[in-house]
Symmetry: C2
Subunit: 423 residues, 2 copies
């Protein structure tokens, strides 16, 4: 291709379309992954009760849920295959995450068999499912981090936070079910439960920050359902019972049903979020393609005439189109031809749009970035101090409050000290 | 390609190599662009004196420098062609910036003719060259922003700051030359000069933060040359003369030579920085390719045996490989085969490396991001308040000091107020 301003412009447009097509693949991937997460959450719940009841309960339910997980696993696998067939649409980071997830999917059969033969404690089963789900959720996080369109990026961040929050609701169901089923209040379970409630609130707060109007409306409607009142009452019992004291085993079923209903309501919202995301990415691709055809047509038409636009020393070299007013007037005379005018106008429109998109992306990226830093610091503290996730998080939050610094700054300070032992 | 963990791993490696090859193209582009910037700086200097002396001085020098700029322009064009031939190696942002630059290069002939016929004021000529140079420098900024390897990203940020600082040195030469040549101290020139000195210091501070050992050593050596003492004496005269008072016209030549010597010294360092960058990117590509062959060989060898690694529910789903210690022990027994072990080890090594790279990239990205935010806020203030770049920068700095907030936070506040008039 000949080196010319119009060709550069077309190349820029084609890059945009290419990036949007990645988005299409990503939206498909995220939808499939989110669906499997939901299915595995249900299977985890049923498996926990199956194990906690020594195989007396939920055997059939569990079988049914396994079938569902399996069929959704196939969708995720086909979505991974699509990525593998289009390596240019992925990144090293994404393939690496998908490899971890695949390793986990490959080992699901073995996990299920161990559960079927009750060779696993319920806690271990919860942990194994939760790790696989965490891997799947991190695929969604990576997608949000890699998206270059601001509206899609916001939608993915909202979705990620929602799925993450819902996953914590799912874990809460599992831990609460274990507590009620055991008939006794265990301090560790109780602490974990309170942490999970806290973590859900943080996720849903971020969800609210990034969700669109429709998502918000749906979410608000979810806060006003009878199941919330029932859930809060049971949460109060789990949270305020003295460790060591008895819990009513009969509440076990009510707890599970109540959490399940809540999760199913959330699942409806998740479906809506994924559909919105896919619709949005389809629209963007269509728009960009139309735009490309228009620009291409316009530019080809113009290129048929001889270019004479050589006086345009002006308006140029400020990528954000903000030029020191004192330096702006053209050196002498006007910019020549229609070609010059139109090319420059197209270029200006495109530069403006790219700059605006980048501006809008930044707040989303920053939010993701802060989360990454806090997560990493938490991981570091867990490894160095050999403490639980809750303890690491509390330590960061306490230090942040004591020193009156933002949590992300405390997290960063923790990460930057190579021989950091305690804050 | 069949969906398997080893194939995912290979795809991740191939993505990395692809990204490194972009880096190779980028390093070439940045080298050519940096070289042209230097040539245009010299041409700008000679053109200013030519115009300020009403064509009596520097006519031959200017001709010679134009020839040099032209040959370097061809190198930049061929580097742009290389990008155009590999659209997948670019981005919409980069092509858009290159289109602006190309528009400017296309208009250079006209600019030169206007200068030759003295139809342009020296100030306008400086402005026109400076805009083209600013466009070229923003191509380097974009490259730094897009680099995914931490060592390359740091090298590009150092180079960008160095070239930006050197450009301000070049502008200082032009403004100082105008001042001395006019024989009188102009308040506006004086303000601009002080601003440029200040801006240089900021750029070189950032350069020092990101440069490697060799670059730093070279830079420190540059601070100890006789030319610095001469330059500082002349700067003192320009900076401390009362506006309206006379300046010694005879110092004009000394100023120009002195600045030129300083710029040439900087140019030597720039060459070294670009060479270092290209060498580093070549090494990375070679290493990654060797690595790919090794992994591919290893994995193919292993794939020839039947895979049995289905017990590995473990160590998996934490992308940063930091797993809650309480959940870590394998559910039951060991992970089976050599294939399982080796695949997981390769995957672990790769995930660890990607996470480490991302950590290291973040501080660089943050530095670039803060600069972008401050630049944007400056642009906004310039447009809204119709003030110069200096005034906008001072306003941000003053507000930052008054409110005891970081400048980037003030800049962000300014950007987030849609109807912002004055801080």
């Amino acid at each position: 291709m000949e080196l010319s301003v119009p060709n550069m412009l077309l190349a820029a447009k084609q890059c945009e379309i290419q990036e949007l097509k990645h988005l299409g693949v990503t939206a498909h991937l995220v939808g499939a992954v989110g669906h499997l997460v939901h299915a595995l959450q249900s299977e985890r719940g049923a498996s926990t009760i199956f194990l906690a009841s020594s195989g007396r309960r939920f055997e059939a339910t569990r079988e049914k849920l396994i079938e569902e997980s399996r069929s959704l696993e196939l969708r995720v696998r086909s979505s991974f295959e699509q990525q593998l067939a289009n390596p240019a649409f992925g990144s090293a980071r994404r393939f690496s995450l998908m490899a971890w997830v695949l390793l986990g999917l490959d080992s699901l059969a073995e996990l299920r068999e161990q559960i079927a033969h009750q060779r696993l404690s319920p806690e271990r089963a919860v942990a194994a499912f939760s790790r696989l789900i965490a891997g799947l959720v991190s695929v969604i996080f990576e997608a949000a981090d890699a998206a270059f369109d601001p509206s899609i990026s916001r939608a993915l961040v909202a979705l990620f936070n929602f799925i993450q929050g819902k996953e914590q609701t799912g874990q809460e169901r599992a831990v609460g079910a274990l507590s009620f089923a055991s008939g006794i209040c265990d301090r560790q379970h109780q602490q974990r439960l309170l942490h999970l409630i806290d973590a859900q609130e943080r996720c849903f707060k971020s969800f609210v920050d990034f969700a669109d109007e429709e998502g918000l409306r749906h979410w608000r409607a979810l806060q006003d359902t009878p199941v919330v009142a029932r859930l809060e009452r049971l949460r109060r019992i789990l949270g305020s019972t003295q460790p060591g004291a008895a819990l009513d085993v009969n509440l076990s079923d009510e707890w599970f049903e109540c959490c399940t209903e809540r999760l199913n309501q959330m699942w409806q919202l998740q479906i809506q979020l994924v559909e919105g995301l896919q619709k949005r990415s389809d629209i963007l691709i269509l728009e960009a393609e139309k735009d490309l055809q228009n620009s291409a047509g316009l530019l080809n038409h113009l290129m048929a005439r001889p270019p004479e636009c050589t006086r345009a020393v002006d308006r140029f070299f400020d990528p954000d189109a903000r030029i020191d007013a004192a330096l702006t007037a053209p050196p002498n005379g006007e910019i020549g031809t229609q070609l010059g005018h139109l090319t420059m106008e197209l270029l200006q429109v495109q530069s403006d749009r790219l700059a605006r998109m980048e501006n809008e992306l930044e707040s989303t990226r920053r939010a993701l970035n802060e989360r990454k830093i806090i997560e990493r610091a938490k991981g570091l503290l867990m490894a160095r101090l050999r403490v639980s996730e809750e303890a690491a998080y509390k330590l960061l939050r306490q230090t942040s409050m004591d020193q009156n610094r933002r949590m992300v700054d405390v997290a960063e300070a923790a990460l930057s000290l190579p021989d950091f032992i305690a804050p």
